[in-house]
């Protein structure tokens, strides 16, 4: 017999960001069918996916998981965490599972734990590519067999089906690798026969936690009750409220299209959705539509190692240097390239040398329309080379040359760069780039996503 109402609680918008304990306790006390949390995003760039490192802090994530598990276990309801460890790859998943196991030991908690892997082996991806199952989205980096083999790591973004499989297998705590934000919250409701049009829109609203509230004070929980016709969203924290405006406006955030959200298996259309106030703090949403797609596709993400970065940060305040900064940097570049070629035997195309000039166009680069001159600039000399050692060697050549690069107005040896630190050079580690923006057509929505069950 299908449940008529399902109440979902989102602990917060991102697992590393926190929430108020009282809000989560209240949310679950008010009656919840599960607690979800999104643990990842591509917002922070390709570093986490490329390196396999999670984004912490570990103690913060552990605190948040502890509270989520405590409340859910007490209420006897499932926990669903998606995009574990920030990038949702295998090392990120393992890092999260470690924390879960640690918590279970420390608190003597016992439950069935499902881990859903979303990392895709390069061989598997190359085969799929050669069979024509992978198509580019727009815009997409060029992809071929070589690019696939050259990459560090790929993940596929799971939809609701792998999570539903874990729920059906009796898992109480489900930790997923890379996962659609919406799928974290829509999986259980759809399993309980809530229409996808309702569950997916509710999921989209919940996935940022308290961000759909009118004036989010700090990251916090959100709750939504779904039924056959719509959902009602209300923050458990009495100090904040949702308004029809805030909930509708939040649908715009980070979406290229205000009305159409493409998910695995279909498109959520909110063109005719209605947002009505319920009391002072809740909003009822109805009228959303879901159109199933003919083909089932999952989004692919991947990162490739591009090189290693070293930087120098320095201030320039001399107005005579500043008034000729473009030619200063241009001639400086020529001298650096010559010296790097002479001493390191590297040609200019073997590394990138980027002058980032804050106070001019550091933020917008060549899109900067303004040319207002300030009294100082912050210069970052940014070098990316094939190895960290090379980048570290180029930087002192670049910075020392810049330090004493002459201008005609001052006769004598000058020092142009005000370094805030000693040493001036900072090794910034490996640099990655996103190497794929493609969709993979699947016959079976669960096949790429291996599930492992553990009884803790």
């Amino acid at each position: 017999m299908p449940k008529t109402k399902i109440r979902a609680v989102a602990a917060t918008g991102n697992l590393s960001t926190g929430f108020r304990e009282e809000s989560l306790v209240r949310a679950v006390e008010q009656g919840a069918d599960f607690v979800g949390c999104d643990a990842g995003t591509t917002d922070s760039g390709p570093y986490y996916l490329g390196s396999g490192k999670p984004r912490g802090p570990r103690e913060g994530v552990k605190r948040n998981l502890r509270l989520i598990l405590r409340e859910a276990l007490r209420a006897g309801i499932p926990v669903i965490v998606g995009s574990a460890g920030h990038a949702g790859g295998r090392p990120h998943l393992e890092w999260t599972l470690d924390i879960i196991r640690e918590l279970a030991r420390e608190h003597d908690w016992h439950f069935k734990l499902a881990a859903i892997d979303s990392e895709i082996e390069k061989d598997v991806l190359a085969d799929a590519f050669n069979r024509g199952e992978i198509t580019p989205l727009f815009p997409a980096p060029p992809l071929d067999d070589r690019a696939i083999r050259h990459a560090e790591r790929f993940v596929a973004m799971m939809g609701i089906e792998p999570i539903q499989q874990a729920l059906t297998a009796g898992a109480q705590v489900i930790i997923g690798g890379r996962c659609s934000d919406v799928a974290i919250y829509a999986s259980l409701p759809v399993l309980k026969e809530i229409p996808k049009s309702v569950a997916f829109h509710a999921g989209k609203t919940l996935e940022c936690g308290a961000a759909s509230a009118a004036q989010r004070l700090y990251p916090d929980c959100m709750a939504a009750e779904m039924d056959q016709d719509g959902f009602t969203v209300e923050p458990p924290n009495a100090a904040i409220r949702c308004t029809p405006q805030s909930v509708a406006a939040h649908a715009l955030y980070e979406n290229a299209d205000p009305y159409r959200l493409v998910e695995s298996g279909g498109v959520l259309d909110t063109t005719d959705s209605k947002y009505e106030a319920v009391g002072e703090r809740a909003v009822r949403v109805t009228g959303s539509r879901f159109t199933p797609s003919k083909k089932y596709t999952v989004r692919l993400e991947g990162a490739t190692l591009v090189g290693y970065r070293s930087i120098v940060i320095a201030g320039i305040r001399d107005p005579l240097v500043l008034r000729q900064l473009d030619s200063f940097l241009s001639t400086l570049r020529t001298v650096i390239e010559r010296k790097v070629s002479d001493s390191l035997k590297l040609s200019a195309d073997a590394y990138t040398l980027n002058f980032r000039v804050y106070g001019r166009n550091g933020t917008l680069g060549d899109l900067e329309p303004l040319s207002e001159e300030g009294h100082e600039v912050g210069l970052i000399i940014d070098v990316v080379a094939a190895t960290q050692s090379l980048a570290s060697d180029i930087i002192p050549i670049a910075s020392h040359t810049g330090l004493h690069h002459p201008i005609a107005e001052h006769e004598g040896l000058i020092s142009n760069l005000a370094y805030p630190f000693s040493p001036g050079g900072i090794d910034a580690g490996p640099v990655y780039s996103f190497c794929i923006n493609h969709a993979w057509e699947l016959n079976d929505p669960c096949k790429p996503f291996a599930m492992k069950m553990e009884v803790l």
Partner: protein
């Protein structure tokens, strides 16, 4: 002469994934939206020029019930690429803030 921000409650940009940028411009009231749109201050062509993208790749929506304009464009430099200047895409809206709204 006035500037766009004086007509709005919010102007922001953010990544919609690493390959696309999306801008949200929320107007104070109906008159503000109408004033700005009537003067063609914000159009796909203006965006295409400011951000150096093909005008046919500019997605432009007027969201009436929110008194908002949403614009989405492909990122010419993907998030995290070596030449990127803004990983999150959060400051790309800045040239729009003081767009002239002529009387």
């Amino acid at each position: 002469m006035r500037e766009l921000w004086q007509f709005t409650k919010l102007i922001r940009s953010k990544n919609a994934g690493p390959f696309e940028l999306t801008f949200d411009i929320m107007f104070k009231n109906r008159d503000s939206l109408d004033d700005v749109m009537r003067r063609e201050v914000l159009t796909p062509k203006v965006i295409a020029q400011l951000y150096r993208v093909d005008v046919k790749h500019v997605k432009f929506f007027v969201v009436e019930q929110l008194l908002a304009v949403k614009i989405s464009i492909p990122r010419r430099v993907f998030s995290g690429d070596v030449r990127d200047t803004d990983i999150y895409g959060g400051q790309f809206h800045s040239p729009l803030v003081r767009l002239a709204v002529k009387d």
